[in-house]
Symmetry: C3
Subunit: 219 residues, 3 copies
């Protein structure tokens, strides 16, 4: 599961793209939900963008996290926060970009997180789980900080698409057919399932007799 230079570069590009998407998402959330100033907006963008990868690296014992040894993550996360701050005045509504960039970050981090876990020698199940944690981790910290019940607990198909995307990448690698194609397939699967879930307000089954739906969000 070592990669050629081209594979490593691709993984880095996808990881930075996910970082940028989550930075936009976190910063827009800071503007819309919590009405933060520019420091708070950029800070929330950075935490959302970097939180999942930091969790992954801590759990892998790959310390210090990539964030702190590779300055590109910090630069991209900061840039995403600043771009979101500048763009917010131009956008009439932030709900759509928040949803789309969250789904993008989720999908990209599911596949890059799982790939990183494999590179560090994680087992099959562990790699799928770590991909899911990488994907959902930053958004979970974001939601805790702005005092929402995290999407991963309450929202339409959030963990499921991340798990599917990670599983595609891990199984392809185990089958010896890993590489860019399957990485993109995994990300696409995660993205489509997430957007369908949001679009049709799908939820997994609730327990019998648990009463009316009580999603606790103030979004």
């Amino acid at each position: 599961m070592t990669g050629s230079p081209a594979t490593v570069t691709t993984a880095l590009v996808l990881d930075l793209a996910g970082t940028f998407a989550f930075a936009l998402n976190g910063a827009f959330t800071g503007i819309r939900v919590a009405r933060l100033d520019i420091v708070g907006v950029v800070t929330l963008g950075m935490i959302t963008a970097l939180g999942g990868g930091i969790l992954r690296d801590v759990l892998l014992g790959a310390l210090p996290p990539a964030t702190f040894s590779d300055w590109r993550y910090l630069v991209v996360a900061t840039a995403g926060g600043l771009v979101a701050f500048a763009a917010a005045g131009q956008l009439e509504r932030l709900a759509l970009p928040i949803t789309v960039f969250d789904a993008l970050g989720l999908s990209l981090f599911a596949v890059t997180g799982a790939t990183t876990a494999l590179v560090h020698g994680a087992g099959t199940g562990q790699a799928v789980l770590l991909g899911t944690i990488t994907a959902a981790g930053g958004g979970t910290i974001r939601d805790v900080l702005v005092r929402r019940v995290p999407s991963v607990l309450s929202s339409e198909l959030y963990a499921i698409p991340a798990m599917l995307g990670a599983a595609v990448v891990v199984l392809a690698a185990r089958a010896g057919v890993g590489g860019l194609v399957w990485t993109l397939v995994g990300a696409a699967v995660a993205l489509v399932v997430r957007l369908v879930g949001v679009g049709f307000r799908l939820n997994a089954p609730r327990p019998p007799g648990s009463g009316p739906v009580g999603r606790a969000t103030e979004g």
Copy 2:
């Protein structure tokens, strides 16, 4: 402080029992407090069950955490969440099982967490503290995710019983009389003190002039 195979097996069994108890507790909490769907319920059960041990292993530098190198924890935590989901429809009230399984997980993790810390060479005070963190950690993350003030801050004798149970195990080990008997004594002490605290609504003293009791819970 290395153990015989029998001791290690016993520690593993108790640790898995604590994992199962906390998974049931977290899943019931997800159903009752936050009305989550099945994915959210199982996710909250897993986080509650695995959170304390992950915190302990991160603080010990024993990475990756046992959760990720031993699949039995993942299986038991997932099973607990699914069992709770299936059982929820049969139970008229969830308050009692939530309390009991929380107390069980707290007691078992206090002693297994302290034992693990000793195995990794922690000092006496450190081992008691790490036992307490293992016991209270998962429930604290659970409460943050469903937006309650954590039990460890607000609830009737929560940290105290964990600390007592951990202290029994650590002091017995330091006195050279460690083993299953004292592990069970430690867990029993923690369990009894916790249940007495809940049953009689005991609290430690409040500061003079701090006004009426204002427990911030929506449980």
Copy 3:
């Protein structure tokens, strides 16, 4: 960036002073905002005091954290919580000490956190960031536990002074003029900027058209 014994001792003293200040702050917050009992008050004081340093050490991979290998941190944090509990009855208002001790802890941890990061070989930008995380981390966990939007996101100039203080220390060390004087200058810069920010209710710019200020605090 190794230090003479005198430098190391000074760093330790400043670090313990920051620990004491944050323990007082966290404990007072537990009394005023959440009306906790003595166990909750001391626990919140300890988490506030030790949280930032633990985050820093986890991110540096310096495990177990200093807290667990040097008992003085635990003793000082516990003492701070107990002193705050005893003093609370004597104080008519807690708002002022909460603000002052938070600013003191923030300033001291910004410089000691950055210094620790340099000692562990962090780069310039990383050391400034880790100083900021050390300074803001404990208060962020405190705010999450008592269910407030963290100061680092919402409050008048919180991350900025920490970043400035850390930058002074890091740049001085890079210029080869590190030592006690610049450490104190860095802490003083952070403290003054923070207190000016609080006193004049300064905030960084908000996005255009983001509506009225909506600081979400119940303090």
